[in-house]
């Protein structure tokens, strides 16, 4: 089943700036199959990555790695030369939406955009560009996606993850890590953890991910981490009520947020009484989702949901 990424995923990085270099190094250390880089103007060169392998990553590797990653000027060239089937974007905000469109045009089926601070109208255009193309965009402004011990694409710390039974989907980076760590600590682990990002316009939404988790035989339960703003959680709740047979737990951040103020994420804003945490929690509860009252209780909420469903 598709869980977005696995050991066969061949990953390209777009944007070899400071962040791109650092996280590419971390991904290679984890064992992610990084096959090339795109950085306009540096085509034809190689970028060397070497260091100690991350023991929590893909098993059966040498203790050290040394990789000369080929760099290309365009995504099209990179795909032709490497057979990449995923791309991760660290391009700065002004060029990030263009990088998304370039990757889509080159036929890459999975694009993960980490960049924070992309102008909304750029994403409106990029989303329009993706219409009718067989490309899935995750993000932007997200930590990325990981299937533990197989493939890590993004900026999450690899070592907190363990292969396991729970699918994690979240609009927030650090809250994803909180949930993942708790699930690892209680021994449930994760099938896949995916951050869909905190921006108002993004590629993959909660329902897209829930559908994948519902269809994935290894995922036994799901935790959905939402926050104030928009109506994505309410839409997810409606979908869960009608389509989801697996147990779902949830935490929604922003119960005490004042209306009209942007809480760090551009999408996290309550306006005109819409998008409140209370509304979202009520909708999720009505769909049978177990709500974690605090972020400390996320794994406990998953266990409760699994017990109720008779799978724990």
């Amino acid at each position: 089943m598709s869980r977005f990424v696995d050991v066969h995923t061949r990953v390209l990085v777009q944007g070899l700036g400071k962040a791109g270099q650092f996280h590419t190094d971390r991904a290679i250390a984890y064992g992610t199959n990084m096959v090339g880089a795109v950085h306009p103007g540096r085509g034809g060169s190689h970028h060397r990555f070497e260091g100690a392998s991350d023991a929590s990553g893909v098993p059966g590797r040498a203790t050290r790695y040394a990789v000369d990653l080929p760099v290309f000027d365009t995504v099209r060239e990179a795909v032709a030369a490497t057979g990449a089937n995923a791309s991760v974007i660290y391009v700065p905000p002004a060029g990030a939406a263009d990088a998304i469109m370039e990757a889509a045009e080159a036929g890459i089926p999975l694009i993960v955009c980490i960049t924070e601070g992309i102008p909304v109208q750029d994403m409106v255009r990029a989303k329009r560009y993706l219409q009718g193309r067989a490309t899935r965009l995750i993000g932007p402004n997200c930590p990325g996606v990981i299937t533990p011990h197989q493939c890590k694409i993004g900026i999450m710390p690899g070592y907190i993850h363990r292969a396991g039974r729970v699918g994690v989907v979240s609009r927030s980076g650090t809250l994803t890590y909180e949930a993942v760590k708790q699930l690892t600590d209680v021994g449930l682990g994760q099938t896949t953890a995916i951050g869909i990002g905190g921006d108002p316009v993004n590629g993959t939404n909660f329902i897209d991910v829930l559908a994948e988790f519902q269809a994935d035989p290894e995922t036994e339960a799901v935790i959905l981490i939402g926050e104030i703003g928009g109506s994505a959680e309410e839409e997810a709740a409606a979908w869960i009520a009608t389509h989801m047979t697996k147990p779902v737990a949830s935490f929604v951040a922003g119960t005490t947020a004042p209306p009209g103020r942007r809480m760090g994420h551009a999408g996290a804003i309550i306006s005109g009484g819409q998008g409140t945490a209370a509304d979202k929690i009520a909708a999720l509860k009505a769909a049978g989702v177990v709500i974690a009252p605090t972020p400390t209780d996320m794994a406990a909420a998953v266990q409760e949901a699994m017990r109720r469903a008779g799978v724990l």
């Binding site: 109208q121 980076g173 703003g229 109506s231 942007r262 760090g264 972020p295």
Partner: protein, 413 residues
């Protein structure tokens, strides 16, 4: 980023959108001087004096110093009409008298909070002979990831009230970013607004130009409420509210130059200079957190265990000693703060780095309130050793988030 009404109208007028003529004034003398050329240019013996603050509801708002005075004043020349030339000088003198009361006054509206906002500027605008008041706006519809143009015949009322009471009176057209608002969509909106004759053609042009301006200016929102139809069939933006996408300001230096720092919370301005995302709140527990979602839920958990957060503060993913120190300074400057809760999940940012930053910041700033630190994630043991070994009085290390929130709430009781 919010801008003033007069700035919004100038941006819109430069993009072909009809607005009344007006002049901005920062002193009673400037307000007085604005009247004669305005009356001469428009031939209208009526001017409107509008307080310029970053908040709506100005007309119904009242000045703290003058409880009888609202933020929008119409000055008519009583002796005008009947073929007589309007007495411009008398009108100008009355505008000056009003300006003397309004400038430097504190205006409280439904959107300012009880503390109100200091009025530093007035917009002196031509009077308009209003036949109908309508509503239009361009906003992002997050569910489809596109702008929508919204219109309603119920101008002059808050759109949220219309949406709650008579949602059928709001019409909307979704904008395909590849083509913009199409002609047929603009016509559909104009028909729904009941525009006829010349006003119809002007309305279509207005709507088309407004959507184009919204896209070109990277607005979060453009709201024209009311959009008025005058007795002579003109279609004008009588009020205009524009806010610009912060992430797009890099490509609009002209718009960035309109930023009015005096309208913003000084601590929030300072925080943004250090790359901190900070919002001042009314509670007593200062929060220093990495990540927006975690920062929000830290506020939630403090409230859950019976406390009140004094702020939202996200130090971001690349926290340094410098910006942690800045964060401490900003938090401790708030006289309401009786304790600080540092809540960090070290991912890429290691706990020992943030612990060193916290210790250095505490030493630099000098701690006068209890401090609870909760660290989790990469190099957590090392981080806790640094925190506990620093010998800072009043510093408590917490086991987890809930524990940390409970402890800081207890310590500040």
């Amino acid at each position: 980023m919010k801008i003033h009404e007069y700035q919004a109208k100038a941006l819109l007028a430069a993009r072909g959108i009809a607005v009344p003529q007006g002049r901005v004034a920062t002193s009673p003398a400037e307000a007085e001087a604005a009247v004669p050329p305005l009356v001469e240019a428009t031939g209208v013996p009526v001017v409107v004096v509008k307080a310029q603050i970053h908040a709506g509801g100005r007309g119904k708002g009242r000045f703290v110093e003058h409880p009888d005075l609202g933020g929008v004043q119409v000055v008519t020349d009583a002796r005008a009409g009947g073929g007589r030339r309007p007495d411009v000088e008398a009108a100008a003198a009355r505008v000056r008298a009003l300006a003397e009361r309004m400038i430097g006054g504190t205006l409280v509206t439904a959107q300012t909070g009880p503390e109100g906002k200091l009025v530093q500027r007035l917009y002196v605008e031509q009077g308009v002979d209003i036949e109908r008041e309508l509503y239009v706006s361009v906003v992002l519809d997050r569910s489809v990831g596109r702008n929508v143009v919204m219109a309603s015949t119920e101008g002059g009322t808050e759109i949220e009230e219309v949406a709650a009471g008579t949602p059928e009176k709001i019409v909307r057209e979704e904008v395909d970013p590849a083509v913009g608002l199409t002609g047929f969509q603009a016509r559909r909106l104009a028909f729904a607004l009941g525009l006829q004759g010349e006003a119809f053609a002007r309305g279509v042009a207005f709507l088309t130009a407004l959507e184009r301006a919204a896209t070109e200016l990277d607005t979060d929102m453009v709201e024209v409420n009311p959009l008025v139809v005058t007795r002579s069939g003109e279609v004008l933006a009588l009020d205009a509210k524009v806010s610009i996408d912060q992430n797009a300001l890099f490509r609009h230096p002209d718009v960035l130059a309109l930023r009015d720092l005096s309208e913003e919370e000084p601590a929030e301005v300072e925080a943004s200079e250090y790359g901190l995302s900070f919002i001042k709140l009314d509670g007593t527990i200062g929060c220093l957190v990495n990540g927006a979602g975690l920062a929000m839920s830290t506020m939630d958990i403090i409230q859950h265990v019976g406390g009140m957060p004094a702020n939202f503060l996200d130090v971001g993913g690349g926290a340094t000693t410098e910006n942690v120190t800045a964060a401490f300074k900003i938090i401790t400057r708030d006289p309401n703060v009786r304790g600080i809760f540092v809540n960090i999940f070290g991912g890429i940012m290691r706990c020992d780095t943030i612990a060193n930053g916290v210790v250095a910041a505490v030493r630099d700033v000098g701690l006068r309130v209890p401090l609870v630190v909760r660290l989790e994630g990469t190099n957590v043991e090392l981080g806790r050793e640094i925190i506990e070994g620093a010998g800072i009085p009043g510093l408590v290390s917490a086991a987890d988030m809930t524990d940390g929130a409970r402890r800081i709430v207890e310590l500040t009781r």
